[in-house]
Each structure stands twice: as C-alpha cells, then as structure tokens.
Amino acid sequence: MSVSATTTRAPARSARPAGTSEHKSVKTGSVAWMALPALLFFLFFGGVPLVGVVLLSFTQWDGIGAISWLGIGNWTSVLADPVMWKAMGLTFGIMIFSWLVQTPLALLLGVFTAGTQRYRAFLAVLYFLPLLMSAAAISIAYKALLDPNFGLAASLGIPILVQNWLGSPTLVLFVVIFVLSWMYVPFHSLIYQGGVRQIPKTMYEAASIDGAGTVRQFFSITLPQLKYTIITSSTLMVVGSMTSFDLIFVLTGGGPGDATRVLALDMYLRGFRANQMGPASVIAVLIVLIGLALAQLLQRVGGKDKSSSQMEGM
C-alpha cells in the first residue's frame, strides 16, 4: 500500500515546487535552507519510491518471489492493452465531467458563503460537512443508500429513484461523478470563499456607483478577480482526478465489469490483486507523467508571473 500511496501523491506534490521555485530564487537566497527539511521529506517519501517504481516497471515481480529484469516488456504490453486505454479514457472523462460539474457549483457556493450575513455562515457550516468525512465512509454510505431493494429510494417509496445505480455501466458513471462532486464541492467552495473575500470592496462600490447590477458585478469583477483561484482549484481537481482511487474503489471496485476502472484503480488491481507489480508500475509512472504535464499546462494557462498581476486595475 505505501508504495502506491506515495507514487500516486507524487504528481500532486511535485507540481508545486515548479510554481514556487522561481519566487524563491528571486527573493532571498539566505532562507533557502528552510526548505531543506521539506526537501528531505520529499526526497525520502516521494523521490525514492518514485525511482523505485520506475525501476520496477522494467522488471517482472509478483510481489512475493524474486525480482527479475524484463526490459521494456511491461511497457509494450501495457501500452498495447485495451483495458489500460479504456481506463485512461475513463479517467479523463471523469476528470472533465467532474470539472464541469464542480467548478460552477463551487464558484457559486463560494461567492454565496463569502457574504457576511449570519444565515450564510450557518449554511456554510452545513455545506462543509462532507469535508469532515472520509472517502471510504462516504462510499459505504452511498452504497447502502443506492441499494435497489433496501436503499433510500425503496424505503421512501420513490419509484423513479429505484434504479440499477451501481450495476448499469452507464448510470454508474453518473453516480461516481455525483458522489465525487458531493464530496469535493465543499472543499473548492472553501477556496473560492477565500478568494472572493480578498477582492477589495472598493471595486464593488465603484461599480455600484457606475450603475452595475449584481449579475454585472459578478461577471465583470468577481469572475476576473478569481482567475487565479479558478486555476488553483482546477489544478487540484485535474491532478486529483488522475490519482482518484479511494472513493471509486470502495463504491464500485471498478465495476460493473470495467465500467469505472480508472487509471489509479487499474494500477492497484494489477499490482495488488493480480500480483503483477511490473505492469502496475508502468501505470504508476504514466499517472505521474500525465499528472505533472497537466499541472504544468494549467500553470501556463494562468500566466507566469501571477502574483504580481492579481491586483490589476487597482
């Protein structure tokens, strides 16, 4: 387990230094040693396992016996495997749909909860409740709720909700995206809430004087000012989708068939169920590479010197 945990986290972690390192060199060289403990931790828990996984991807190993060198055999077989390509497609599908569902919801909720009224603060607390629960607990709860015979719909007697939620290859995708969104929208709302609260009030005051309504203010002030918050939140969503594992593993186990077998799950099932550590390592390396590339891409979209342009027009 520890191997997979560290490798899947690698892209998320390694995405960060690329963005911040530029500042560090510009600012002061004297505090560079402060990064040393973090760097050591990263090298030990992120770097070393990553090198190990790259090496393992060129070997044949069942996790129990001896490790034998294989060369590029794993790479050719995995890259020719339709199961892996389906998993890849699913991963990107879930990534895109999750983004499309979560971003507008989180943005609106974030803007709403950024207000100072007391009822908003109360509602915000309710919205953030899913953040307090573990993915495994959420999955088990949803599994019970969606049971066609003893679940919520059957108990309440709502026939339209009695569906083969986890058993139909098409429905199950919507269920997964729904549960993922239910779980992570509060987190992203929190980011947006913070972002909105940083927008200077004077901008809105000026806009009101100029006669802009709430909608106009949202599109002309709030949204442009949140540009970098959106990029941060999107990076987390996209890279997180690449490594998304726990919730889907407990909720569907990749099923029915391979309908929800995303890349991270494919890696786990190959490595720890089917005892094929070599092919599993290939997929782990792929996840790292794609995650890094996506994170870089999103940083580029946001522009290079982002912190200096945050207060544009002020």
Partner: protein, 459 residues
C-alpha cells in the same frame, strides 16, 4: 479527486503563511513535522489487535478478525499456550481484505508470521513457487493421526505438485441452494431438482411478484458460484481441473459454452432479482432478499446459515428456510454428488522462520488447532468442522438437520472443487471475476468470455 489533493492544499497553505509567521513558529512547525511523519508511518504497522501471550511468543500467527472464528481461535491459542508455555503462539488479528494484501507484502519482504493462514489453491501455489512455505509432506507422514481425521477432500487445495504445503483446518463450507419455504407454499411449487425445473420456476415467481433468485452481483464471486456448479454438472469436474492445470484452450469446451449460455438465458428470463448488479454480498443484502420474502431462492456458501440465523433467527428456526444441493442438469456428465465451495482453511509454515518457531507451529498444528473444544465451538455456531467421525456431535446440535446436510454433502462428494477465484492464480482470478461480471451484465457473449479467459491460461 483523492485525499491527496487535500493534503496538497494544506501544505501549500502552510508554505504560504510561512513568510508571515515568526521564526519561532516556523521552527516549531519543523519540529512537528517528524512527529507527523512517524505517525503516518505507524499507521502501516499498528492497528490490528493482539491476543495470546504476544511478548514471549515463540511463533506468530496472523488471523482474521470477525466472529465467531476470532474468539474460537483465540481460545484455542490460549489453551495451547497454557499447556505449552515454552512453545507459545502469538496471535494478531487483521480485517479480511487488509490481511490479504498485507500477508502478500509481508511474505515478499521476508517478514511474514510463522504460521501463514490462507485458502490454499493458486495463492498457496505462488508462495510455493517463491519458496516461501515449507513442504509438510514428511511431517504428515510422521503424524498420520492428524492427517487421517481430516476430510480427504480438504487436502486438494493444500497440494502443489503432489506435495502438501498446508494443514487444512476449521470448517468446510460448500455452496448450497437456500429456499424460502413461505414463498414456495404461496405459489404451490416444489423445490427444483433439475435445471429445467429451476428455469420453469422463474415465470411462476415473477407472476407472484417476487424475484426467483437472489444474487449479490456487485461482489462478482457470488455470480461465479453459478458457473462453478453449471460447469461441473454439465461437463464434470474435469472441465475446471483442465482450466486450473492451464491446459491450452481449456476454456473452449462445449460444456463451458453450454454453461455460459444457460447463465445468460437465465439472466434474460429475469431469473435474478432486478438490479442484482447493484446488490452487494458484503452487506448481506442478498441474504436479506431471501429472508424478507423478496426472493425465493439463493445459491450461496454454507456460511450464510449462521449469518441468517443471526440476522433473522425467526426465519431460520421458524421452519421458513430450507436448503438442498444444486440441481442436476439433464444429460450432464457431472456426478450429482459433486460439490463446490471452500473445502477448508489452510495454515502453512513460513520457510524463513527460525527452527524454534517452526517447531512450535508444528506442535500447534498437531495438538492445538482442531481440539474437541474447537470442534464443539464451530458446531455450536452452525458450522461443520472438517473432521470425520463427528456425526454424534452434529446430531446433538440445535441445527442438526442443517449440519447433517452440509456434512453429508461435503463428506460424500465424489469431487469437491475449490472456489475458482481461490483455486486459480491471483492474476487469472482477477480477470475471471471481471469477465463474469460482464457476462452476467450481458455485455459480452459466451464466446467472447471463452476467448478472453483462454488468453489468461497459465498466467
């Protein structure tokens, strides 16, 4: 999105605030970091509870948490340790799924317990191949009494290349048909003895508004049980024996094609409960369908009896539950006495353990594991220990009828085939379960199933 995104967000927030916080606060953060690190590392090793005299234990055993076997085994180990203080066994418990991953990793790392608990078959074969478990053939020859009191059928999954690598123990759990008698009375039907009778009952129960068969299809191995029996009834036990031996093209037989087609026909006819693909066995929802009267029949392991007695005592003891062997298939080549399921549980000795630890483990195998107390404890829980000559004890139990049925089925079976996912190697088993799920979902046809599975032979 995974939890890793959360941790990343937290770390980036921390680095963001560093510039603003004082030097002292920053240093205290560094001081805390190793603590957090070690706490994370500890998660991997701690967690399971321990029993027995762990501190001065000579040999170690890992076992599964969950009643009733957890207390039965704890009692057995405690009794053994009291009688043999210088050969004490230290017992540690793990949750089932966690154990299966952990034991593999531990064996690979050379850190396994002395006694390796498992289910024999393909997984044991992979341990043998890696030279990680001891050959016990010689030990069994010296301890004939230990060998001869156990069911002969239980030794199959313990045998690799003609040598014994594990001690069969605990209980035998064949897969049997369960019936809801109330529903059968309501529609005026009798229990099916042949496949055709079973298929003919489907519209009868559908008309009465209940599901003919309960199935926890999301768990996959539940659907596999149907194929296990159909393959055996139609083509005999040799069909799967060839597959397990990885003979070329072994899945491509007329019997296999017939069995796979029959299953899909049954699915198309509405034999299984609506939405069975969403029903899970780990929550016992499939059993609940049977005892709440929503499904009339269920094919399931013998372990369900105890579970249903626990969840719906009224249903089991009130005479509403009945059981029987899997129906025969007219014209099929299989011996009707054949059974499938789990012939037993298995304990092996880790080859890298010290000689002292191995001696203690073998002493425990001989005297500690299937004692009279253990046998009685299993019987009291509605399970049949894999020991011969216990008819009297079974007859004296509250569940005599059930226990006698299971005992006869298991001890008289011409061939007792081990559950496929355990008999096959781990990589083949994973492919099998995925394909079975697709077969039951009608998303692949029998021929596609055969082609895909043929490609996995020998993996």
């Amino acid at each position: 999105m995974s939890s890793s995104t959360r941790s990343q967000a937290l770390t980036s927030t921390t680095t963001g605030t560093v510039r603003a916080t004082s030097r002292r606060q920053f240093l205290s953060m560094i001081a805390l970091a190793p603590v957090a690190g070690s706490a994370l590392a500890a998660c991997g090793t701690s967690g399971p509870g321990s029993a027995g005299s762990g501190a001065d234990a000579v040999a170690t055993e890992w076992y599964l948490s969950g009643e009733p076997s957890e207390s039965i085994t704890t009692d057995a180990v405690n009794a053994f340790n009291e009688a043999n203080p210088d050969q004490a066994i230290g017992l540690t418990f793990f949750q089932n799924d966690a154990y299966k991953t952990k034991i593999k990793t531990a064996i690979g790392a050379g850190q396994a317990p002395t006694i390796i608990y498992g289910w024999g078959g393909g997984t044991l074969g992979s341990y043998v191949q890696a030279g990680q478990v001891d050959d016990l053939t010689g030990w069994f020859d010296q301890n004939v009494a230990v060998r001869d009191r156990l069911f002969p059928s239980s030794f199959g999954p313990a045998t690799v290349d003609g040598k014994l690598y594990a001690l069969p123990n605990e209980t035998v759990t064949p897969i049997v048909m369960y019936y809801n008698d109330e529903l059968f009375e309501k529609v005026g039907a009798s229990k099916p003895t042949t496949w055709d009778e079973l298929v003919a009952l489907v519209p009868v129960f559908r008309e009465a508004g209940v599901a003919p068969l309960s199935l926890g299809g999301q768990s996959r191995w539940t659907s596999m049980m149907w194929l296990e029996y159909l393959f055996d009834r139609i083509g005999g036990d040799q069909v799967f024996a060839d597959i397990a031996a990885a003979k070329p093209d072994a899945w491509n037989t007329p019997a296999a094609l017939d069995a796979l087609t029959k299953v899909q026909d049954l699915v198309r006819a509405g034999g299984f409960v609506d939405g069975f693909e969403s029903v899970t066995a780990d929550s016992n929802a499939d059993q609940a369908l049977l005892y709440t009267g929503r499904a009339a029949m269920m094919l399931h392991g013998a372990w369900c009896y105890g579970a249903m007695k626990n969840d719906a005592a009224d249903f089991v003891t009130g005479g509403k539950l009945s059981f029987g062997p899997f129906p025969t298939v007219t014209g099929g080549a299989g011996d009707p006495s054949n059974a499938v399921g789990n012939p037993g549980q298995y304990m092996s000795v880790f080859s890298q353990a010290s000689q002292e630890a191995k001696d203690a483990a073998l002493a425990f195998f001989a005297d500690g594991i299937m004692t009279d107390d253990v046998i009685q404890a299993y019987i009291d829980n509605g399970q049949v220990p894999i020991v011969t000559g216990i008819e009297d004890k079974l007859a004296a139990s509250d569940d005599a009828e059930w226990l006698d049925f299971v005992y006869q089925l298991a001890s008289k079976a011409a061939v007792f085939t081990q559950s496929w996912d355990q008999a096959l190697s781990p990589s083949t088993a994973e492919a099998l379960l995925t394909n079975i799920e697709q077969l039951f979902a009608l998303s692949i046809d029998p021929q596609a199933f055969i082609t895909t599975m043929n490609a996995t032979l020998g993996q």
